[in-house]
Symmetry: C2
Subunit: 190 residues, 2 copies
Amino acid sequence: MARWEPGARERLVVAAVDLFAEQGYDTTTVAQIAERAGVTRSTFFRHFPDKREVLAAGQDTLCQLLAAGIADAPSSATPLEAVGAGLEAAAQAFTPERRDLGPKMRDAIAASSELQERETLKRVGLATAITDALKERGISDPTASLAAEVGVLALKMAYARWADPTNRQELAAIARQSLQELQTASATLS
Amino acid sequence: MARWEPGARERLVVAAVDLFAEQGYDTTTVAQIAERAGVTRSTFFRHFPDKREVLAAGQDTLCQLLAAGIADAPSSATPLEAVGAGLEAAAQAFTPERRDLGPKMRDAIAASSELQERETLKRVGLATAITDALKERGISDPTASLAAEVGVLALKMAYARWADPTNRQELAAIARQSLQELQTASATLS
């Protein structure tokens, strides 16, 4: 019988990303991921419903951090300032261990349409979390949805830069800069 | 042996949406959809790889229309004006038959997480088509991606209004109005 082991979840994520990168997503099995992580298959299934969902590890945490950051922004904050506060709060989920996984994860996603689907759905889930948190602040649609899309684009840009091994800036700083670039771009739309 | 029959694709879409609405997506089989449409299972599979993909019928056409409309916009057009030209061109895909399907399709999607996933992926596919078409015009990121998200939000808003049986305006006009509302909203972001 496997016991509940602290750190098993993190080890499963690392093992899965390693295997996806080494041998491809399609040929990687749950049994292989569990073995590489040093846990049983049933421990795997206590953490994830299937191998695709390993990629979404942390999505719930990220949504909660975004929502909390937005809720805690000063009442005078503009919609994009509130989104910025959300990104700032979310940045703490991006640990150094996760940064090291970045390039491998990017390669694994690029090679698998199924992982691309999951990644897309994750991003849309984040947009929904931001939209809902902005609505809680009394910001209505379409402004809330629009600000959420800007926030998700900022996070996507920031993540790509952060996961680049040559970049040693903190995610919070990169996200601020990405949001600023999008704000500048939005002035050139029309 | 079933022969290739004009109109079979459209009948399959109508049959699928009817069945999803009547008895739920999960319990509906490809055989039932084919029977309701008056075609064989093999005819179904000539048009769609599985029942989920019936929902994405027309996605390729829509992407092509969006891209063509954006490419044909005057060279002086701003990014959002080019997106508006794309939406205008895409509006021709929204036929009266499709309008009648709207409420049933909305209910079927609301009741099935698998259809919601497919709908989400469709929307992201449209965003990619718009982004690529804008880049062809020399508009770079992040402006191209941002304008594409605005375009997809406008189409989503416009579709919801158009599919409402009490609304008899043309989609092109509703889309123009939605894009205008988003433009106004973008001025209040910061």
